[in-house]
């Protein structure tokens, strides 16, 4: 019984990593490629999660929706609606630069969170949406974890290919150019405003998908899941630690940070029983300290942004 238990834990960890990796890839498009300081990940995450929840769950008196549609439709809707929500937000906020944009997007995410909490007719308010179907679920615990993991991995892989191909393509080069020097990019004929909006929406849609996948994993979504610490800042830590501008770095960052996040609990559990609660505070300390250590030894991220070396020097 011991070994399978650890395997199931490993699977649940991997599911989290997969979902957070999707969020991190979405952020990488916005920050890593385009330099958009979006600190409102939680907002798009929430929009995606709730959209898919309302589309796929059964009819309920507590909230809108309840369309009972298949899960893939829910995921597609999550991406679509997250993208749609991002559009006006981007239109308004993208004129701000760096830190101004960050605080504006944090604000928008807070407003989204408050709307979700307060507008019960739409979202179930504080009660949230429960009874969201989980695809491929079965009565066997291990099996349903495994199949959901497989699903997450497949989706992640697709998203990775999508984003990686975009990055390597002239599109990615243009975006990185806009990030590095807007004025020059503009003078070289790139429509800055439209392109930044494009990247913002693209990234937001992917974040929406991440939110949806998490909601289906829990089979529920409540406002507690969109706390900025866990849904925004954590993703930022992952991306920056992994290496922004590098998709593999982003994924690796997720793996490292979630491992620290989750496994640190085992470390502090070694403390004697009477310190059990203090141990949890120590755990938070250890998480903070580990971040510092990773930054100390890999200040550019674990896998820094790679230069796109010219493949052949001369034809």
């Amino acid at each position: 019984m011991e070994i399978p238990g650890i395997l199931i834990y490993a699977m649940s960890m991997a599911i989290f990593m997969g979902i957070y990796a999707i969020l991190a890839l979405g952020l990488n498009i916005q920050w890593g490629f385009t330099g958009l300081f979006n600190a409102g990940i939680a907002g798009f995450f929430a929009v995606g999660a709730y959209t898919s929840a309302l589309v796929t769950s059964a009819l309920s008196a507590n909230h809108l929706g309840g369309l009972d549609l298949p899960v893939p439709v829910g995921w597609a809707a999550a991406m679509l609606v997250a993208g749609l929500v991002a559009w006006p937000i981007g239109k308004i906020c993208l004129r701000f630069r760096s830190d101004y944009l960050a605080i504006a997007t944090i604000g928008v995410a807070e407003i989204i969170r408050l709307v979700i909490k307060s507008e019960g007719w739409l979202t179930g308010g504080a009660r949230g949406v429960t009874k969201i179907p989980r695809p491929l679920a079965s009565d066997n615990y291990a099996l349903s974890e495994l199949s959901y993991l497989a699903l997450v991995v497949i989706v992640l892989f697709c998203i990775y290919l999508l984003v990686e191909k975009q990055l390597k393509a002239p599109w990615g080069r243009m975006m990185r150019g806009i990030r590095d020097n807007e004025l020059a990019a503009n003078a070289m004929g790139k429509n800055i405003e439209r392109r930044r909006l494009e990247a913002f929406i693209f990234g937001a849609a992917i974040m929406g998908l991440g939110g949806a996948m998490l909601a289906h994993y829990y089979r529920s979504i409540t406002p507690e899941a969109i706390d900025p610490m866990i849904a925004t800042f954590l993703v930022w830590i992952m991306l920056i630690l992994g290496g922004s501008g590098n998709n593999r770095g982003a994924i690796l960052g997720v793996v490292v940070v979630w491992t620290i996040w989750s496994m640190s609990e085992f470390v502090t559990d070694q403390l004697p029983e009477e310190y059990a609660i203090k141990a949890k505070y120590m755990r938070v300390f250890i998480i903070g300290l580990m971040l510092q250590l990773v930054l100390r030894f890999r200040p550019e991220g674990i896998l820094p942004e790679a230069d796109q070396k010219s493949a052949q020097r001369r034809k």
Binding site: A169, M174, N181, G189, Q308, S310
Partner: protein, 256 residues
Amino acid sequence: MLEVDQLTKSFGGFKAVQSCSLSVKEGTITGLVGPNGAGKTTLFNLIAGAFQPTSGSIHFMGKDVTSLSSDKLFHRGLVRTFQIPHEFHRLTVLENLMLVPENQLGENLLANWLRSGQVRAQEELTRQKAWETLEFLELTHVADERAGNLSGGQKKLLELGRTMMTDAKLVLLDEPAAGVNRTLLRKLEEKIQILNKERGYTFMLIEHDMEMIEKLCDPVICMAEGSVLIAGSFAQVRSDKRVLEAYLGEVVGDAA
């Protein structure tokens, strides 16, 4: 091909460009000189759409482009360089050049997937062109270096290189020679002449290097305090008393 009419730009209360009128004829290499702070760069910024003028109008190829943004002007065939280099610092030197050509299919989200063959072919061409440009600028050895790590002069060369990556009608060069090695500069001059003669580019060139102005430019326009002081051939401008005093800093009567 370019008509600037009564253009004024003020920053706060300070008028950097004041009722400035000039025109550039197709096929010329027009020189723009003037003391430091005369408003030359500001004029370029206005023409290229980086600033909006306070008043006045700009016509390019017969059309009013006064309030057009930089990217739209680029698509109409107007390319500019910056006096203080604006490189894409985290892109490699090669990428800095490859980014420039307009209408790249691969910059379109969908085309990237639907027409990837075409995208790849186009990339190959762009890459080749970029290499040729690097070869000409003697920058091949830093092709894979991040542009932010270049030396001051190399950045200026890269700035210039970008204008060679696209088929422009009018090229605005802001002090291309500053900080560039003289041996290389002679080559640049030749290149500019070739582009002008063979490809039909029109140039507008800000320079303080009189040798270069003399060799390339006709006509030459001299600006001072935001407006045009005099326009004419190099010799005419060179011998104007006001120019001598304000710009060249020579005591009148002194031979060059």
